[in-house]
């Protein structure tokens, strides 16, 4: 079992629904976010290109945030999901420094928080909140170890990229391009 998210940048409209959905599903305080949208514009009018991306923790295979955590609060569970146990976290910020994607933030209650791949939903066989709400259906979630899963098939048949592969973290959020 290896969970992954595949996001089709050709369909994403940057509406940020995934961001609000995460906020209301996971009680992310106003002013913080576990996912966010970036917009990249290239070229010169009228030869312009635009890419919109929904970003979040990449649930890296080679997760520096887990390695650098002095207490073990950051850990990896079944399916490769990287989680933080609030009551073990001392808020040292090492994991925040270690993440090339700035995917973690310090929760106002003291611990470090980030995308959980909606572990609590996935456990119940549901899709993550952001995936389930996206109006363009440009997000896919599933098991990479299963060659027939939607995510495996998409990665097989489409061109894709990951973010900052040179950081060596082996991200598990993939972007179809």
């Amino acid at each position: 079992m290896r969970y992954a998210m595949v996001i089709d940048t050709l369909k994403c409209v940057g509406c940020s629904d995934c961001v609000v959905a995460c906020q209301t599903e996971n009680n992310v305080p106003i002013g913080y976010c576990r996912d966010w949208i970036t917009e990249t514009v290239n070229g010169a009018y009228p030869n312009v290109e635009l890419e919109l991306k929904s970003e979040r923790c990449n649930h890296c295979d080679n997760a520096p945030c887990v390695r650098c955590c002095p207490t073990g609060a950051s850990h990896i569970v079944e399916g490769g999901i990287v989680l933080v146990t609030p009551n073990e976290c001392i808020g040292c910020g090492a994991c925040i420094q270690s993440c090339p994607y700035d995917a973690r933030y310090s929760h106002p209650e003291g611990y470090v928080d980030k995308c959980t791949f909606c572990h609590h939903r996935v456990e119940k066989g549901q899709q993550p909140a952001c995936v389930s709400v996206c109006p363009t259906k440009c997000m896919y979630f599933g098991d990479l170890d299963d060659p027939n899963s939607e995510v495996s098939q998409l990665l097989k048949n489409r061109t894709w990229k990951t973010l900052a592969p040179e950081a060596g973290t082996k991200p598990h959020v993939f972007y179809l391009i």
Binding site: K11, G14, V20, E25, P46, L50, E51, D102, E109, T136
Partner: protein, 748 residues
């Protein structure tokens, strides 16, 4: 503000910053000793109760489930899976609808205008006092001028309850900005051509289309849910998307063809497309022959409108015009030249919509799979009440200069309020509900003049929006999440109905519109029209009539019905009568001719910006609905101010930097109240600037929205009225940049 983190950002590092660094550390101390509650897990573990509703954050009315926790707090709102408007997926505004409920800046009690120490202000009042005042004022106007002189300006669900009240009271003086400031021209244009207006939701078969043509319609930023979802399906299906927009919209970025048109020249492009389709014989001959009227006249009409001709006007290369026309023809009839929605642009908008309709006619897409389907809805029986009195005049008479208008014309109602403007139809009182008129209808000066002339004005809103500041009485409505409302019956591929029931008790002292209407009605002696104690009874009765029940609807939220009107598409060679005078698709309109208008669309040049001025272009932020969501805590978190899109060349010439604050001054010398930050971007032409509509609120009670960004409506002082249906063309305004604060010496 758009934050760019991709470049290293200047921070006060050491130097003086050595000390500055201590501040965040000290601030952090406040949090250091709090106890962890693992709030993040609450939603997962708590037992949430769900209630059926449909969304009111915009007018798409997606059906949804509102989830409430044990403390009666609304935690989240999730789309209803069986709803054809959303298929279980709300748009960001719908998902963020919780913020409409939780916003603490909401209107809390009725307010009555009063004078304290010579200064006008509001005082809190009881419902009894406020409603008695409203009823007595309405009675006064009725006695003095007739009920017709009391106008209802409304938008959204509360409107229907008030319409009932107004009809019982004897007034049909009703208008909403969703017509003359929005989709009016296309309804008239399509009505004249196909005999059927487009309506909402649009019967565009986007999911099955092979070619989608968007004329300025920026789906993806315009988040009307089904359209966004189906455009994504179309991309999956490999459909060709052609976007005509002077701005590089999100939709443009998904398109095979982006035609970066010079603003205000669309009709030229549309005519040249017709030219190519006809003279290259690419149009649907069988369809045109069977269903069309006036093709020969059209053919002659567009003879000279070659792509070369259009190129000189639109700046779109003849090759691109030909290629896109051929692309549409190749996909036909599974092609949609989208009617758009907010189409009140340059005053000749009905004619532009006619051109779009004609193009669809030539391509044979009306009544075809992947084009426009035949929509169907189900009628909700009206709850028994005595017959309404017949008013002597109403919206139709007020707008009689525009016989092609199908609804009340907001701007004409406003005008009729100014003494001397419309002697036959004087308006003395306004009931404003669910529309923030001063940010919605341009020419603030005219609105203010009208408001000054009023005997009485009452505003029913959920938020202390700018319009409430003009009222004599302000009535706080509860949000859609706290009330029953009329059953949503919508036109779609299949008919469906949806229920809205309260998910939580109304916060503060707010009340639902149905209750307010009933109270006022009773005070006006119209109690027999409100023969129920709770609107729930009305809904229960209606649902019984429709073969379901309130209990069932509470469980399912949405009920889908089978079609009864026949197939969604025309079958090959089917006889079909369009509801136009000729029974055919009218390429040539005798009706327009007889009214003295062009029977076929023509291109007329519009004013272009003078030196140093730029066209003010505006549109939707995908995370907001007009002005109504700017203060919503969840949505404000995503976008709290609008930016002014400026082309890098313009920025260089004008010496503007990214992130710099500027004030705008329009051609009539009107200056934006607040500054707006410049976004230097290649996504906009050099002859225009662009901003999201809805920002720049000027009421301090909106703690998040106040003074954030600029208000586009405020800068629209010049309008071009559509001679066919009275719509307000808003896109002929030009602005220049002021880099110094022009309001420095005047307190604001």
């Amino acid at each position: 503000m758009n934050n760019s983190r991709r470049t290293f950002i200047k921070i006060s590092a050491l130097g003086a910053g050595g000390l500055a660094l201590t501040t965040p550390a000290l601030n952090a101390l406040g949090n250091n000793f709090s106890v962890k509650t693992e709030k993040g897990l609450i939603n997962a573990t708590k037992n949430l109760k769900r209630s059926a509703t449909y969304c009111e954050v915009c007018f798409w009315k997606c059906a949804a489930w509102a989830y409430t926790d044990e403390d009666n707090n609304i935690q989240k709102i999730i789309g209803n899976e069986s709803d054809p408007h959303c298929n279980g997926r709300l748009c960001p505004r719908g998902t963020g609808g919780v913020g409409m409920y939780s916003d603490n800046d909401r209107l809390k009690t009725p307010l009555i205008r009063t004078t304290v120490d010579g200064e006008e202000t509001f005082r809190e009042a009881s419902w009894e006092e406020a409603l008695t005042l409203v009823a007595s004022k309405m009675q006064e106007i009725k006695d003095k001028y007739g009920a017709e002189s009391m106008a209802l300006l409304k938008h959204g669900s509360p409107g229907s309850h008030l319409e009932h009240l107004f009809q019982a009271y004897g007034s049909d003086t009703v208008a909403e900005p969703a017509y003359a400031q929005c989709r009016g021209p296309r309804e008239t244009g399509f009505g004249l051509t196909f005999g059927s207006w487009v309506g909402s939701p649009e019967p565009t078969d986007i999911r099955d289309t092979k070619c989608l043509v968007l004329i300025g319609s920026h789906i993806g930023e315009n988040m009307h849910n089904t359209q966004v979802q189906e455009m994504s399906d179309a991309i999956d299906n490999g459909a060709t998307i052609i976007t005509v927009d002077p701005r590089f919209s999100t939709a443009a970025s998904k398109s095979q063809y982006w035609l970066a048109i010079k603003p205000a020249t669309d009709i030229a492009l549309l005519l040249s497309w017709m030219h190519v389709l006809i003279y290259e014989e690419l149009y649907d001959k069988k369809y045109v022959e069977k269903y069309g009227h006036g093709f020969d006249q059209l053919k002659e009409h567009v003879r000279t409108f070659t792509p070369e001709w259009a190129y000189s006007i639109t700046t779109i290369k003849p090759d691109d015009i030909r290629r896109t026309a051929r692309s549409m023809a190749a996909a036909a009839p599974s092609v949609i030249v989208h009617p758009g929605r907010h189409v009140t642009w340059y005053g000749d908008d009905t004619q532009r919509s006619r051109a779009i309709a004609i193009l669809n006619g030539l391509l044979g897409s009306w009544g075809r799979r992947g084009g426009f389907y035949f929509k169907e809805s189900i009628k909700v029986p009206s709850f028994p009440h005595p017959p309404y009195p017949t008013p002597k005049w109403g919206w139709e008479q007020i707008g009689e200069k525009y016989p092609l208008a199908q609804m009340g014309i907001t701007n004409e109602v406003i005008k009729a309020t100014i003494p001397g403007e419309n002697e036959e139809h004087p308006i003395k009182g306004w009931f404003v509900a669910g529309t923030n008129l001063v940010s919605t209808v341009p020419q603030r000066e005219v609105i203010e003049k009208a408001i000054e002339s009023l005997d009485f004005m009452v505003v029913m809103d959920t938020m202390p929006m700018e319009i409430t500041g003009y009222a004599d009485v302000v009535l706080p409505e509860c949000t859609y999440l706290e009330r029953y409302d009329g059953i949503r019956s919508s036109t779609n591929r299949e008919p469906s109905i949806a229920l809205r029931m309260p998910a939580a008790e109304p916060r503060f002292e707010s009340k639902p519109a149905w209750w307010i209407s009933k109270q006022i009605g009773e005070k006006l002696g119209l109690g027999e029209y409100f023969n129920y104690n709770d609107y729930k009874e009305v809904i229960a009765w209606q649902l019984e009539q429709m073969g379901t029940s309130l209990e069932e609807m509470e469980k399912i939220g949405v009920k889908n019905f089978k079609r009864k009107s026949g197939p969604m598409y025309l079958t090959d060679g089917q006889d079909y009568e369009f509801t136009t005078p000729t029974g055919k698709i009218e390429f040539y309109s005798e009706k327009l001719k007889s009214l003295g208008h062009d029977p076929m669309p023509v291109y007329t040049p519009h004013e272009q910006p003078a030196q140093g001025f730029y066209r003010l272009n505006y549109g939707r932020s995908p995370m907001h609905t007009f002005s109504r969501t700017i203060n919503n805590p969840n949505l404000n978190d995503l976008k709290d101010e609008n930016n002014l899109w400026v082309n890098p060349k313009v920025a260089r010439i004008e010496g503007l930097k990214n992130g710099q604050e500027v004030w705008l001054e329009n051609q009539d010398g009107i200056i934006s109240t607040f500054p707006i930050k410049v976004r230097v971007t290649e996504r906009i032409r050099w002859d225009s600037v662009y901003m999201y509509h809805g920002f720049g609120h000027n009421n301090k009670k909106l703690s998040r929205a106040y003074a954030k960004g600029a208000n586009d409506t405020h800068l629209i002082t010049k309008v071009t009225i559509d001679p066919l249906m009275g719509g307000t063309g808003m896109r002929g305004n030009f602005v220049k940049f002021l880099t110094e604060n022009p309001n420095k010496n005047t307190a604001i």
